[in-house]
Symmetry: C2
Subunit: 442 residues, 2 copies
């Protein structure tokens, strides 16, 4: 039972806001929402708080938390070649697990209840997500080509596919209804047509999402135009890759025709504004046109090495700022649309549209309480103003309590499933193993 | 005494970072910085914390905290004409005081020790800043024309100038060495030449800064080009307005020649990236060229009605993101440069370059402690990585303790000079007086 919340942001069909209302949770499910309620195992006080759906991060690489602040302010190619790739080669299963624990800690602290992750050693990541108690869609990144003509390296392909099948098995054996495997071909320029289509077969076999990086950089678009005479999206459509199972991250460089194709094929998008800005990819994802065409837009932080947080509140604000800035028009997108992206759109994109993303009877209780007795979140003029405060002024650190399936993972800022200091200790050991030592500069 | 800080970011000439070091403060001044120190009146534990200079916000309108979330997602002209101006006409001295208290609360919570403010009823704002214990440069906004040809309305001019002189007197009578009056002509398009030059005379008389909005919108540039055949900056230079006392906010729309002129006249700039993006002013302040020309760049949040926070950590991050994005180049600006803008550049722009902005012997103790045992701020690979974590991952809410002239205004998240709940109560009364009632939507 979450009692007497100052406000509830339901995100239901009518986007109702409720004042001074309680929520009764039983067996992880919202059983009742009303003013006068009693019962439930545990009472959580909602006074001075806003109750809302937990945020959903649809594109990240949480193990990269270990690399936060490690490579900064470099051009993209030097960032990858001199810093990120060399250290990623040293990442073991154990290190990915530790990085994932740190990422889970940050997501819990900042109001994220569900994530979509693509990385190496994805089985270990799934284990960390289970330990934390979060909801996750987790996949092993797949790569089989590093050449401009996308020639498949067969042994590379087979070893990645083997790891991917192994990951699915590990996740199935976790036997946690909140954790689902996904198939994650890295990107059109790092996967051959064979690998892309084998990913589709695998997704069909296990009935999973397909998660892929798409048109993040102009270079990728130029390469496909030059090699094939088609845009990346057109090319993927011609080989039959695009369908409603695909959740594509970034989608920065799109033509009008690409937008139409993505809409027609029911592809979902994870927009990652902070990473795009920080890496200087140049363009801006054409969100207004995508929305107009009916494409479902969700939000992602990308990995902490290019953000440098997993704070979805921050991503909501910057998503709005970037569109307003890009179109010279503050009205091009509003706070409610942004909040939808991080909640109901995201749950819909993951096939959970009737399960999470709303505070509604029968939905699972993936919920957060935000402390609004805080100087940045006062005053509240109206219900519109409350949404604006949450999107434009709240931070992840404003989150006080977080529940997944009714189970508290954080209560009043105190972690319930993970031991914060223990995780920092593991992270310190991990840095030693990676041979990144704190500087002796003093 | 602040004892055994995990790190100290000195921001001194060599930008040294010190590990496990203490700072001894006496009579508001940093007396010693060393590993083994004893003495001082009060012991503040630095374990798990970074000690750094308090951040300086060089452009804001803190009383507009009352309007946070009140007017959102509208085109600039409708935002001003339908929402902001009508409600601003209702703002009394008392309401500005209450809004300023809320703003002070937010600045203390989020790590700002010093602000530059321009608004109505500036005397009341100065009183709130004094009560809060912050450092402030505060001026009455001046306006005398609303027509495109900038014809001066003499009675308007005289009434504003009278209010400005009154404000200076109020501030002098506060007898607080931390609070200084400034002269604040609103903008070139809202001030006649006479008013601009009378502002200069007034600034000379009281030896103050001049704070002005400059080239925030393309409309302003177009208007000056059309009416006078000069850019705004060229025009201001021709009438003799530009000099080293001028701190200009925004400076979004600048030509190469404008940049040269600003550099030659030693004009200082307050860059406000969040407000610019949120209001969709279009351009991006050409920070790399300004820096190259030697113009001193500082950072401002602008008012909470167009931001919607006073969180300078957020402004640091978005300042970096916007430049990287705008130039398609992550290396165009780095974390250390951004931190400098919010500390040493800002203190320099206010004539406090030898007084605050650094953790250095003989400097006044305007300091903050940031809690780095927090999931978003781990790990710390190196000293560079620490700066990156603070600029790209810390939030105002990561601040644990804040001191101005050695006096704690917040200790471990608890306000020392202001009563948080009392301020929220006053804000609620203020909303009733403004006749903005919380929505009955439910």
């Amino acid at each position: 039972m979450i009692k007497d919340c100052d406000w509830i942001i339901t995100q239901d069909e009518r986007r109702r806001l409720l004042k001074k209302t309680s929520v009764l949770i039983r067996d992880g499910v919202i059983e009742d929402i009303n003013r006068d309620l009693n019962g439930g195992d545990m009472i959580i006080a909602g006074k001075g708080k806003v109750l809302m759906p937990g945020l959903i991060n649809t594109h990240t690489h949480i193990s990269m938390s270990l690399l936060r602040g490690y490579a900064e302010d470099l051009p993209l190619d030097r960032w990858l070649k001199e810093k990120v790739w060399p250290i990623e080669r040293k990442l073991t299963e154990k290190l990915c697990y530790v990085g994932a624990l740190l990422g889970c800690l940050e997501m819990i602290r900042t109001g994220t209840t569900c994530l979509v992750d693509m990385y190496y050693h994805a089985g270990a990541i799934a284990k960390a997500v289970k330990k934390a108690g979060l909801r996750g869609f987790i996949g092993q990144g797949l790569i089989d080509t590093v050449s401009d003509d996308r020639t498949s390296d067969e042994s590379l392909r087979e070893s990645f596919l083997t790891a991917a099948y192994k990951t699915v098995k590990i996740i199935q054996e976790l036997n946690d209804s909140k954790i689902k495997p996904i198939v994650a071909p890295h990107a059109p320029y790092t996967c051959s047509d064979e690998l892309l289509m084998k990913s589709q077969v695998m997704a069909e076999e296990f009935d999973t999402l397909i998660h892929i990086h798409l048109t993040e950089t102009r270079r990728e678009q130029a390469m496909f135009q030059r090699n094939y005479g088609y845009s990346v999206v057109e090319y993927l459509d011609r080989i039959g890759f695009l369908n409603g199972k695909v959740l594509a991250a970034h989608c920065v460089w799109l033509t009008r025709r690409d937008i139409e194709l993505l809409a027609r094929r029911c592809v979902k998008i994870s927009h990652c504004p902070i990473s795009n800005m920080k890496l200087g990819v140049g363009g801006v994802s054409p969100i207004p046109e995508l929305v107009e065409s009916g494409v479902l837009i969700t939000l992602g932080t990308d990995g902490p090495a290019s953000n440098n947080t997993l704070d979805m509140f921050e991503t909501m604000k910057i998503a709005a700022l970037l569109q307003k800035h890009n179109r010279w028009d503050p009205s091009v997108i509003n706070a409610q649309q942004i909040l939808d992206m991080a909640t109901v759109n995201a749950s819909g994109s993951l096939g959970l549209g009737k399960i999470v993303g709303r505070v509604e009877k029968g939905f699972e209780a993936d919920l957060i309480l935000v402390d609004i007795r805080s100087p940045s979140l006062q005053p509240i003029h109206s219900s519109d103003s409350l949404i604006a405060n949450l999107v434009y002024a709240a931070k992840g650190l404003s989150v006080d309590t977080l529940l997944v399936q009714g189970k508290p993972l954080m209560l009043k800022g105190v972690f319930q499933t993970l031991d914060e200091e223990e995780v920092y200790g593991l992270v310190e050991e991990a840095l030693e193993e990676l041979d990144i030592k704190p500087s002796s500069n003093s």
